[in-house]
Symmetry: C2
Subunit: 315 residues, 2 copies
Amino acid sequence: MNDPSVTIFGDWGTSRLRLYLRQGKSVLDRRDGPGIGALTASPRETFLSLVGDWREAKPSLALLCGMVGSRNGWAEAAYAPCPAGAADLRARLLHLDADGLPVAIVPGLSCVNALGGPDVMRGEETQILGALELDPALKRGRRLLALPGTHTKWVVVEDGAITSFLTAPVGEIFALLRQHSILAKAAPGDGPESPEAVAAGFARGVARIVEQGPARLPHLIFETRSRQLLDGLSKDEAMGFLSGLLIGGDTASTASWFGDLGSVSLIGAPALSALYAQAIAALDGSSTAVDGDAAVLAGLTTLSPSPTSGVHVLA
Amino acid sequence: MNDPSVTIFGDWGTSRLRLYLRQGKSVLDRRDGPGIGALTASPRETFLSLVGDWREAKPSLALLCGMVGSRNGWAEAAYAPCPAGAADLRARLLHLDADGLPVAIVPGLSCVNALGGPDVMRGEETQILGALELDPALKRGRRLLALPGTHTKWVVVEDGAITSFLTAPVGEIFALLRQHSILAKAAPGDGPESPEAVAAGFARGVARIVEQGPARLPHLIFETRSRQLLDGLSKDEAMGFLSGLLIGGDTASTASWFGDLGSVSLIGAPALSALYAQAIAALDGSSTAVDGDAAVLAGLTTLSPSPTSGVHVLA
């Protein structure tokens, strides 16, 4: 007989799998594995091999969120439409069986965003619902949340339901430019990498895009290079400047559709959230930070189906 | 004795060297070589080896423009400041000697651009001055020119002098996203590459950014992916859509600082100029096209020093 108090939680994104063995609200053990984009075996085989001896604790369910539910994941869990709260997603869990262990996959969300276009997320919905549990004040009224990352999500929550969101691939564009572009090249005079120089460049980039407005982003990006050639900007300062332009531009553009930014809840890795907090402050907003891993655990807890509820299981 | 009517012209950019042997206004021969970014020998050695038997025609001068005058080129020709016309650049040619053959390098230009930031160009100044020779009407009044490319330049010419310009690395960002991004992936249902699908996607991308405004670029870029997932956009349509967003965003942002676009002179490769012409038309402007290679030749002609003028030669 399975033990209803023991469950497995999983956050399975493109680049990383993080599994937790839980009893009640305690984490007994944690294991990391490959992301959906880096598998060498099927998701099912990968999962079962990582779970291994955890089976001895007789978990009643493994609840997984993220790209595991995408077309290229374990099984496709159709996007749930916005507005959606925890109950809506709980009702749309995709149930599977893995060698006798019940598995449930959290669906992603789709919406018509603030620009009238389609938008999608997978994994962030769980973090958002978790943040609402960690800070229940966020369930009241109209709130703006942001999940900085490869594809930064700006999310509107109204009375506890996710009503719309907007994605900007800021992290991806920055990484591509940093790695491949001729916009920021090391110069002979550059010293060893300096976090202070990166931070100074970042502040300058944020100030520049806030002053000129987000419509100027394509042209300001080239300043990264021209300031290296003409103003003696170091490579570190240039990388910080570029990051400030991109994060500041994303934030300034969001401010222009959301209206007054007010207090933004940032969910994610602390270092990246701190950069967005700086850009939000430069636009006269304020922010609070929620750790991304804590938000995932709280989200999976609130999305866990009641042990007595009937479920439809796919073989 | 050198023959003053025989000269060598060279357009030596980052990715390509194009050399012309000229007598009067006729091109006798043409040779291609590696760009400054792809050299296997020094610029001087590369140049002399390519010129080879052209020396028998006793050229009086080799006049070169482009990245050959950059810090990483043959010799650094300091940027000339704007405003600058043909006479200003002619007076600032950098003169060298290559094994007895006089060589002159056209300096690049620097300016304080419309956003109050520094900007630079190398090579485009020669094309611009050439376009003014090919269409002398452009020398009258205030004109907007554009040189689409890896780093698109928007250029203001007033009464025949280049007064300011603004660069957007649109081509570079597009190439990076096309090559590396997860924003546009081939789907199983995609057929063979279709120019019609790319063109349809491009028109849709331009319409979308013109409707929403250039400040929305970071968020609209993600639609490339979400429309593939939700609207069945093919990979070709998605690539066209992304290109339309980037070119349309660059053009719309330019329109907002230049004011009424009016009639823009596009200098460059015809296929790329045609895409910018579409974006300009979507913003109620009009355009005419000047072939980039023809503009280089006309520019080098107007920048050629008089054979009788005294020059300072560096060994």
